[in-house]
């Protein structure tokens, strides 16, 4: 797909070739996840140019243009050009039919979304509108199309922080998008230490929380997870070094024993888009191995 999209941009390839390359890459990605024995399957957002682009197409006064660094990575996104969302919008965050069940769908958290937007004047109002009018319909569409797990990406909170005054609007935004949605919803906070925010995160109306264990102490997780699921980012999505099996299994087992969350999900600490395909595939295979072995040791 890299070669095909590059060729298309430069007028050296046709749309058909890009579609064929996409189908081929998606099939390969699904195959890797299946071979690894993962419990949920994703389309890998292979056709998304950044986390916001398909969601904001057609919204706002003009298409997103300004390129902004995505936190401390060498990947850039085009900042959404919107300060308001006037009407509900039925964006189809539909899992690709080719993706087998059970499916996971990834969407941006409303806090990150509202902070990434360009020139927004009242970001908390925008956050509420995004939650109600864009993300909630997107989640419902996804669930109707068979998504069982919704993965909300929330790096802004853990990387840049959040003001005290913004917690209440954030909680309200999350509540308005999640109530009545028939799927497990995980808010995944990464690119930073989740420990200082855990107490308030636990009060959010989501099924579970995701933490980045590269940045967060496992000791900070403590107890109190009887009603919440925990997703641990236990493979580093920004490092090409593949984590050793035994130590990672031991990490998962230790957390299962000591934290005792309602459900424990294993994942990478962040998106795998910062890794070349070959390395990302190795990480997925390792994730499958870790999960397989951990399930033998931990009652599930």
């Amino acid at each position: 797909m890299v070669a095909a999209t590059r060729g298309l941009d430069r007028g050296r390839t046709e749309e058909d070739a890009v579609r064929a390359a996409f189908d081929q890459d998606l099939a390969r990605w699904i195959e890797v996840q299946q071979a690894a024995g993962l419990d949920f399957f994703s389309d890998g957002l292979l056709s998304w140019q950044d986390l916001f682009r398909p969601l904001v197409e057609g919204l706002g006064p003009k298409p997103p243009e300004e390129l902004v660094r995505w936190f401390d990575t060498n990947t850039f996104f085009r900042a959404p050009e919107l300060s308001t969302v006037d009407q509900p919008r039925a964006f189809a965050a539909t899992p690709m039919p080719a993706v087998p069940s059970p499916r996971v769908v990834t969407l941006p958290s409303p806090y990150t979304f509202s902070r990434a937007a360009h020139n927004a004047t009242d970001r908390n109002r925008l956050m509420q509108e995004l939650a109600e009018r864009l993300l909630r319909p997107a989640m419902r569409t996804a669930v109707a199309a068979g998504a069982e797990l919704i993965h909300l990406e929330e790096p802004w909170l853990t990387y840049d922080g959040i003001d005290d005054a913004d917690w209440k609007p954030f909680a309200a935004a999350v509540a308005s998008m999640t109530s009545g949605v028939g799927a497990t919803i995980i808010l995944h906070c990464y690119f930073g230490d989740a420990a200082p925010h855990l107490k308030r995160l636990m009060d959010l109306p989501v099924s579970g929380l995701g933490v980045d264990l590269v940045e967060t102490d496992i000791a900070a997780l403590e107890k109190g997870w009887a009603d919440k699921s925990l997703l641990i980012g236990c493979l580093n999505g920004r490092s090409s070094v593949v984590e050793p099996l035994e130590a990672t299994v031991e990490l998962a087992r230790h957390i299962a024993d000591t934290v005792q969350p309602r459900d424990l999900y294993l994942s990478s600490n962040c998106e795998l888009q910062y890794l070349p395909t070959g390395v990302a595939e190795q990480k997925v295979r390792r994730l499958g191995e870790v999960a397989h072995k951990a399930k033998e040791l931990v009652p599930v």
């Binding site: 941009d9 007028g11 236990c234 593949v242 130590a247 990490l251 390395v279």
Partner: protein, 395 residues
């Protein structure tokens, strides 16, 4: 630089890369060329008045190309790019990095200690290759000498050599040598401390063992202006001192004019760290991407340029390479828009000698047609600004 250019207000130059023509890409990759590629070589040869360009067109008709022929085609590509920049009216030029694979890949593939890992998305559908450092770093051979020697022999304008900087090389690499800890069971604070120390060792080894010897080789060949490209410099806000240390370790004591290129960042982060870059005589910085497209020279009209006041106040008073072209868009900035961006900067700096005029970054993601139109409007905008400021051309 020459004495004339040293004192030329609103000096113009490109930043680095240009797209590679399809005839160069396909010929090099051993793919058959279509009529449109022959036409492209012919049309641009004519338009840019490339001497004897018909020889290239003739050569392209004689596939397959052996190694020598492929090198010859690369040199033609360099010559075309050089003429494009000269024809657009730039004061200082290079070859759009036509002989390099890409700014990062070219450097690491000529250096011991790295292994390729694959491509990663930068933005939209643009990807870059990533390698991992796996062993001790050393220069296999100076990797810009051949292109520089060739360009010296054919350039009419002054040359500025773009060289990828140490911090960016390290930042864009995976680290499989210094920072290999994977056990997440210990305290996160310990991991952060170890990661920081490992990163410092990595960056400074790149500066000392890869960049510096390469710069020395270029200076030996006669390079007078070397631009150290650091698009990754502000990636980690808490590593700006390390970026500065790596720049200083790369250039300290070497006899040339050094500048650096920074782009697509919150530039406020660079202060005060870059005050210690005493050997950096120019900072070439992208601003147009953040600016309005409306005309005007007030603060309100130029939102993308508010941070330039900080560059003005740097203690060693370096020049500012003012990015006036958005390289991520096909929008062609009008000469009047370029003029107003320049006039605003001159008003802030109070000295047109400290303002150089450039695109935001390399133009490699734009077609040659778009790049050429943008550059021509840039030099036209400079002329308008000169007129407004009552500046005469130095002889």
């Amino acid at each position: 630089m020459s004495a004339v250019l040293d004192h030329k207000p609103l000096l113009t130059h490109e930043i680095g890369s240009l797209d590679k023509p399809a005839w160069r890409v396909k010929a090099y990759a051993g793919q058959p060329l279509a009529d449109r590629e022959f036409d492209e070589a012919s049309t641009w040869g004519q338009r840019l008045q490339v001497p004897e360009y018909q020889r290239l067109v003739e050569l392209l008709h004689h596939a397959p190309f052996d190694k020598e022929k492929r090198s010859e085609i690369q040199r033609w590509s360099s010559l075309y790019a050089l003429r494009l920049e000269e024809s657009a009216g730039l004061d200082v030029v290079y070859d759009g990095e036509q002989q390099r694979t890409e700014m990062y890949d070219w450097a690491v593939s000529h250096t011991n200690g790295f292994e390729r890992r694959g491509s990663v998305r930068a933005f939209d559908n643009k990807y870059y290759s990533k390698a991992a450092v796996v062993g001790p770093i050393s220069l296999r051979a100076p990797f810009h000498n051949a292109e520089f020697s060739y360009l010296v022999s054919v350039a009419d304008a002054e040359l500025k050599v773009p060289v990828t900087g140490a911090y960016t090389i390290a930042d864009w690499s995976f680290d499989e040598r210094y920072d290999t800890a994977t056990d997440l069971r210990g305290p996160a604070a310990d991991r952060r401390r170890e990661r920081k120390a490992a990163r410092r060792d990595f960056v400074l080894e790149v500066a000392r063992n890869m960049i510096r010897p390469n710069l020395m080789a270029l200076i030996e060949l006669g390079a007078r202006w070397i631009q150290v490209d650091e698009p990754g410099a502000s990636t980690e806000p808490d590593e700006l001192d390390l970026f500065v240390d790596s720049f200083n370790a790369s250039v300290e004591g070497l006899n040339a004019m050094f500048s650096t290129h920074l782009c697509f960042s919150d530039y406020n982060l660079f202060f005060p760290a870059i005050e210690r870059m005493t050997h950096c005589r120019q900072f070439a910085v992208g601003f147009a991407n953040y600016d309005s497209r409306e005309l005007g020279t007030s603060d309100a009209a130029r939102p993308g340029y508010q941070v330039i006041k900080k560059f003005r106040d740097l203690p060693d008073q370096p020049a500012l390479g003012l990015g006036v072209l958005d390289i991520h868009s096909d929008f062609i900035e009008s000469p009047e828009l370029v003029r107003d961006r320049i006039l605003y900067a001159v008003k802030v700096f109070g000295d047109p000698l400290r303002i150089h005029v450039t695109p935001d970054c390399g133009l490699r993601t734009r077609s040659w047609q778009v790049a050429y139109e943008k550059l021509r409007n840039m030099t036209a905008g400079v002329e308008l600004a000169r007129k407004d400021l009552g500046l005469t051309q130095p002889r």
